[in-house]
Amino acid sequence: MKTFFKLFIANTRQFFRDRMALGFTFAFPVVFMVIFGLVFSGADEFQYDVGLSSQDSTQTGVAVAEAFKQIPIFSVTEGELENQLEELKKGSFRAVLYIPEGLVETIARGEAVDIKLYYDPSQTTSIQIIQPVVREFVNSINQMLTQQPALVRLQEESIQLKELGNIDYLVPGVIAMSIMFLGLFSGLPLIQQREKKILKRLGATPIHRVNIIYSQVFLRLLLALAQTAIIIAIAYFLFDVAILGNWLMLLALILLGTLTFVGLGYMVAAFARTEEGAMPVIQLIQFPMLFLSGIFFPVEFLPDFMKPILNALPLSYLGDGLRQVMVEASPVFSLSTDFLVLGGWLLASLIISIRFFRWE
């Protein structure tokens, strides 16, 4: 116990004196979190620039134009149709709405008014959002003008306790990513110490060498908790992301996830002789995981043939578990599956590491 404690102190000292490791462990996730937060947290207030050209200056016409301007996701600029279309082509607008003159007269004649929506078909994503909104807008104007009560109304209710914005989805992702980095890189000090014969030197003393491993793993677990706490604090105080789930479950997931990735990191250390040799192996593991595990975007975007890959990656399960526990996102896997698969990876990497690890 004393040996473990002394080694832990020594490891901690060394860790905090290694600026590279320190920056990688703490500065990187913080920077990542802040950038993601700034880019995505405004999603609720996100607005599309839309042009409006109204030819009708009657009271009804103005009322319709005003109602259009009130639509929250549009930032509306009025102007002449020709200029507006020019702007649309240049890309300043996502769409342009045209209200012809003589609204009331046309309706009085019993004819339908043609309100036109101009758009650029290449802007597929924004159009998919703008079109239904405008359609709904036109419907409600119809209803207003004909004064018919709605017979069937749609009442929307989210089954989530809180609606998830992009940022809510990303916080668990950043935590999962940081844990993966922390774990995978945890083999490096061991490789270094083996290369510099420090492991051999420690082995020449009466201590049991596993204490070296235990003390390092313990340090990694504490670092993972500190890292997660910082990320959650930034998410909570800066970007208003609330953590809804069970804190104990969160703790358990973080610890298990860290152990699993530390296990993978040690597996790398078991096979790579030098630090230079280990780096590409680590990258080979981490990059596919970053992009295929669905920690930064929902997995529905992945083509079907890639799903089996996703289902094999431990990061998928850590990300999924964290999302479920932290923001109560809808599960991709069940929480017990997440725990089981992570545990399975941990066991496998431990067996392989112990089988192939060399002290010298």
């Binding site: 004393k2 040996t3 002394k6 080694l7 020594a10 000292r13 060394q14 004196r17 290694d18 110490q193 510099k196 014969k197 420090i198 051999k200 030197r201 082995g203 020449a204 003393t205 009466p206 201590i207």
Partner: protein, 320 residues
């Protein structure tokens, strides 16, 4: 523990054997690193293992320390053998590896404190630092130490548990003469405290100065054993006369001089080995009188050294 007589003479001291090595073999692929080595070391001795790089010194040392397994043969340290009693042995010995192997981001004090904590018996960090003259550098991170300081810290680690036997594997390699002499003082002090020191080196002068007894090994085999004096005396009756000459005489005429058994000419440098120094010297001086190019320069007579012994036994210089 085995008791035996060191000097089979009138003053037979009873001595305790602390290290006993028998028929040690270790091969790496086709290379016989250790090829049948046996010796015993008594308590309080400074025992040297001398040989060129790659002779098998480190392998032998690490087998005795318990860091490597021999292919065959037995090792007993303080009456115990590795395996079952490995931890007990490690508590009582101090090890300095050839590579300094220090934790680069810990300072001198922290490194010593860490290693000290691994032992039941230990001496204070302050005291060890003083012994190896590192007190002033105690707050320096070990990666910022000079090579000599790292080496001294590495030796300090070997002393932190006040070991009964200290294993020092080429502790002075790469050190400047001043640092080397400082380390010699540390070893001498250990000897004065009655500790046993196992020292490997490829510096002949070091072995001659420090060691009570030594073995010379080459290609994994012991080729000579004894005290430095014994080794020199048993191999050489002669002393060496050395001098420089602008135009050295032919080797033949040197060998013709009285008492001369061997002669070597290297450019302007001449070495003559002689059994009869006065006679040889007389002949040499006579020759010098007749020389028209300035005669003898830097003339001196010296005893044969271990370097000469090694040269004679192997036909090579030790650092070739």
């Amino acid at each position: 523990m085995v008791l035996f007589c060191m000097n089979a003479g009138d003053s037979c001291k009873i001595t305790v054997v602390v290290i006993k090595v028998e028929n040690l073999y270790k091969t790496y692929g086709a290379i016989k690193a250790v090829d049948g080595i046996s010796f015993e070391i008594a308590t309080g001795e400074v025992f040297g293992m001398l040989g060129p790089n790659g002779a098998g010194k480190t392998t032998t040392t690490e087998i005795i320390e318990g860091l490597r397994e021999p292919d065959s043969g037995s090792v007993s340290v303080l009456g115990m053998s590795h395996g079952r009693d490995s931890d007990k042995i490690k508590q009582r010995i101090g090890i300095q590896l050839q590579a300094p192997s220090l934790l680069p981001l810990l300072n001198v004090e922290e490194v010593l404190d860490l290693f000290g904590s691994f032992y039941k018996r230990r001496i204070g960090v302050k005291e060890v630092l003083e012994r190896v003259s590192l007190t002033e550098s105690r707050k320096v991170l070990s990666k910022n130490l000079s090579g000599g300081q790292q080496q001294r810290l590495s030796v300090a680690i070997a002393l932190i548990n006040d070991p009964e036997i200290a294993f020092l594997d080429e502790p002075t390699t790469g050190l400047d003469p001043q640092a080397r002499r400082n380390l010699w003082a540390v070893i001498q002090e250990m000897k004065d405290r009655g500790k046993t020191v196992f020292l490997t080196t490829h510096y002949m002068e070091e072995a001659e100065t420090l060691c009570d007894r030594l073995v010379i090994i080459d290609y994994g085999k012991i080729i000579a054993a004894g005290s430095p004096r014994e080794l020199i005396r048993s191999n050489f009756d002669e002393s060496a006369i050395q001098f420089e000459m602008a135009s050295p005489p032919a080797k033949k005429s040197l060998l013709a001089m009285p008492g001369v058994t061997q002669a070597a000419i290297d450019g302007t440098e001449v070495s003559v080995y002689s059994k009869d120094i006065p006679a040889s010297m007389g002949a040499l001086l006579k020759m010098a009188e007749q020389d028209e190019n300035g005669g003898l320069l830097n003339l001196h007579v010296r005893q044969a050294t271990l370097e000469d012994v090694f040269l004679k036994l192997t036909g090579r210089k030790i650092r070739e």
